[in-house]
């Protein structure tokens, strides 16, 4: 079986290399043969998907067959691993996840190559660039991180098992989503570079690129938040984001991708920021490769990182090649990227996008800087320092607050210029509403002067309310106009408004989702936790909840043994729930892990962890966290996803712009 996999990988490399070289030759040569050669390159690209799929299928089949002669299967699976996790084996280790990268890239390449009729020449260029990236990953798989390497010595009876932390339902979908996001940025990159190389006339490429970026951005958003939910539900420390280098690695391309999705509108509507957008897409792709490098090179320590290996050098070389290629073609064709319009006023939508981009890029730079500073510090002063949450929170929260302010202001600004009167008129209600909410929160006991975290929390909620009111006022204002013309009720009018300009109003829905998420983040300033030894009948009080330990019980299955506490939860003297925090002992890997039990409500999460037993007393130790507003984060993500989907739906009523009638000037002397 390993021979089939190995052969498939070699064949995929040959096909992809052919697709790359023949594609270049076809574009470089003139004459009747070049079209046929180009077609063979396209078909080789399509065939490479089939072959990489075969390789991935072989690896998954080997996991299901418990084929421990393959070293990768031995290290990441075992006989009693439940079936869904045997699928997850594909991306749970270094070699398998690189194969998965390659599979997704070839799938994206397949879609692109099947849709080539949209613009054959542009798609042919993009196809070559995707093939080049694919060649890199297949070289890695064939020569540096081979997933079908054979076990040395006698055949083991059982595998080492999958990492217990990965044995959670979300781990079956979180990595694929994240990878779809990471890998997906190859497509907009390929189109952008292709457009630059061929000095593509017109703006069609930017429409194609924006759509792909939106899909990819949506998938990456899902991937990041699924990762947060997994961390929250499995890791047992009561939080969802720890500014771990690997988390940061996924956040970096998300930030630049977000910046691109905003600034690309300036290019589409006003023909501005062409160079900027080009480099934003280049940077987003390079950051997704950089993220993959961070995860796999061992250059920074992380709880998520794969085993250290030498493939870091491959990634550094690949990044250097990408950068030099982008720089070369930019230098060669930069005259193609001149702006068609100039900025007319500082108080305009264009300026707001510029500042939005600035803040997103500063946030991106800060995260990158903080992630790499330990390496720099070790290099300069010989001592590795830790750059953890206190640094990232302190530096990024002010930037995030400014971004929120801009999110509130941006929709109120018109393209080209906005009058101060119009801004004041439109901003008055959101500003007053936000101030009223801030005053209300202080009146209800929030004390922002007592702690910097409370101050940030109040600012966040205030600005979030401001954004929400801005978004709502945009919907209401537009809805009223339609309602006046059609006689429909306001709600139906707002739906019609959204359908008429899905991108704009889908974007507002995404903004609304973002503010729901940040309100959830703001709740973390008020987190409480308590740790206690708890025997039968013991009580623990946290916030308005009282936990009473009813009993402890045990269970056993082929994969793991477990023990859990039965905790009755009381509120106001009334029992409202029973929670079962659990500890598991995985037999194959001989590792223990905790499985928190969470009672989630709109106002707070009661989060209980069974930490183990006190070695001195033998009594079980439980830790309770009370985390306010966490549910808002997960709800907000759903709203963001809905907004992204809406933004991708074509407008039902095309927006018609009346072209001005060109009046021919009368010849001099006419009418005389």
């Amino acid at each position: 079986m390993s021979q089939i996999g190995s052969f498939a990988l070699l064949l995929a490399l040959a096909l992809t290399a052919y697709s790359f070289l023949a594609g270049i030759l076809a574009l470089a040569r003139e004459g009747p043969g070049s079209a046929r050669l180009g077609e063979t390159a396209r078909r080789a690209g399509i065939a490479s998907f089939v072959i990489v799929f075969l390789a991935a299928a072989v690896l998954v089949t080997a996991a299901f067959q418990d084929n421990f002669s393959i070293a990768y299967i031995f290290h990441h699976s075992n006989r009693d691993l439940p079936a869904p996790y045997k699928f997850a084996v594909l991306w749970s280790g270094q070699e398998g996840s690189l194969l998965f990268w390659s599979l997704l890239l070839s799938a994206y390449g397949l879609v692109l190559r099947l849709r080539y009729k949209t613009d054959p020449r542009l798609f042919a260029h993009a196809s070559i660039i995707i093939a080049a990236v694919q060649v890199f990953f297949l070289l890695l798989l064939n020569f540096a991180a081979h997933p079908f390497a054979i076990m040395q010595g006698s055949l083991p009876a059982d595998g080492s098992g999958l990492n217990p932390l990965l044995q959670y339902p979300e781990m079956v979908i979180h990595p694929p989503m994240l990878y779809l996001g990471y890998v997906g940025f190859t497509v907009p990159f390929a189109f952008a570079l292709a457009a630059l190389i061929m000095r593509y006339p017109g703006e069609k490429w930017i429409h194609i690129t924006r759509r792909w970026t939106m899909v990819t951005w949506g998938l990456l958003t899902c991937g990041i938040f699924l990762g947060m939910h997994w961390a929250y539900s499995v890791l047992g420390w009561g939080g969802y984001w720890g500014w771990d280098p690997v988390e940061n690695a996924s956040f970096l391309p998300w930030l630049t991708g977000t910046a691109f999705l905003h600034s690309v509108m300036m290019q589409e509507k006003r023909g501005m920021l062409k160079t900027w957008n080009m480099w934003l897409i280049f940077s987003t792709f390079m950051l997704s490769i950089f993220g993959t490098f961070l995860t796999r090179s061992g250059v920074v320590s992380s709880v998520h990182a794969f085993a250290q290996s030498s493939i870091g050098d491959w990634f550094v070389a690949f990044l250097a090649i990408i950068f030099v290629t982008c720089l070369f073609f930019y230098g060669k064709n930069r005259s193609h990227l001149l702006s068609e319009h100039k900025l007319e006023s500082l108080v305009s939508r264009e300026s707001s996008f510029l500042f939005n981009n600035l803040l997103l890029l500063v946030a991106c730079f800060t995260v990158l800087w903080g992630t790499l500073f330990p390496v720099l510090s070790e290099w300069v002063q010989g001592t590795k320092v830790t750059v953890g949450p206190p640094f990232f929170n302190r530096v990024n929260i002010p930037v995030a607050l400014l971004l929120l302010l801009l999110t509130a202001l941006g929709p109120l600004l018109a393209w080209r210029r906005t009058s101060t009167e119009s801004l004041k008129r439109n901003f008055r209600v959101p500003a007053l509403g936000a101030l009223a909410v801030a005053a209300g929160l202080i009146a209800f006991g929030m004390r922002p002067w007592k702690d910097v975290a409370y101050f940030y929390s109040l600012m966040t909620i205030t600005l979030a309310v401001m954004v929400a009111l801005t978004v709502i006022s945009e919907f209401v204002r537009g809805g009223r106009v339609i309602s006046r013309h059609t006689g429909q009720n306001l709600l139906a009018s707002m739906v019609q408004l959204t359908r008429r300009n899905t991108r704009r109003y889908g974007g507002y829905i995404v903004h609304f989702g973002v503010i729901v998420v940040v309100i959830g983040f703001a709740g973390s300033a008020f987190n409480q936790d308590k740790e206690q030894e708890m025997g039968f009948g013991d009580k623990l009080t946290i916030g308005s909840y009282t936990l009473v330990c009813q009993s402890y019980t045990q269970d056993d299955n082929p994969n793991y043994g477990s023990e859990w506490a039965v905790m009755n939860v009381f509120k106001g003297g009334k029992q409202i729930a029973t929670l079962n925090p659990e500890r598991r002992f995985y037999k194959a890997s001989q590792q223990t892990s905790t499985m928190p039990s969470i009672r989630s409500t709109v106002s707070n999460d009661l989060y209980i962890v069974y930490e183990g037993q006190n070695p001195d007393t033998g009594r079980p130790i439980l830790r309770a966290h009370l985390n306010p507003l966490v549910m808002w984060i997960w709800v907000g993500v759903w709203i963001m996803i809905v907004g992204t989907v809406v933004a991708m739906i074509p407008n039902t009523v095309p927006v018609r712009v009346m072209a001005p009638v060109r009046v021919q000037p009368a010849p001099v002397g006419a009418g005389d």
């Binding site: 420390w237 501005m272 001149l338 600035l358 510090s377 206190p390 910097v452 830790r623």
Partner: protein
Amino acid sequence: MTAASKRTLRTVLLGMAIPMLMGAGDQAARFNDLGHRMMCVCSCNQILLECNHVGCTYSDRMRAELVAAVDRGDNDDLTLQSFVQKYGPPVLAAPTKTGFDRVAWIVPYLALVLGLGLVTFIIRGWRSRPLVLPANAPVAVHGVELDRFRAQARKETES
């Protein structure tokens, strides 16, 4: 700079200064604050008070030492310094504000300031630059015709 701009700038600066001037108060808050400024050194990469490793041999001991330091009334700097001496610089969850570590804090703000400068430069360049139009672009309209189009656009997009 107009009076309104100066007022806005003062408000923004005051807003940024408030968080820096605030600090934690009582013993429990100090323990919580200091415990969140240090890492557990069991290589779990977690904040000291958030380490939940089953059987972690470090976090309990470190928390007990922190409680003792807070009870003794050691100030924050002294407490953190004693942990650095015992467990090494990586015990601190963020770079210090001395020596080379200061660079970690300065650079992000410097990037923000430079970025603001760059954006201002770009905007100025745009506003003073002559317009570059593609060869097949429609002829620009001026005067009464432009005002008419603006009025039409306003009408169609605003109320």
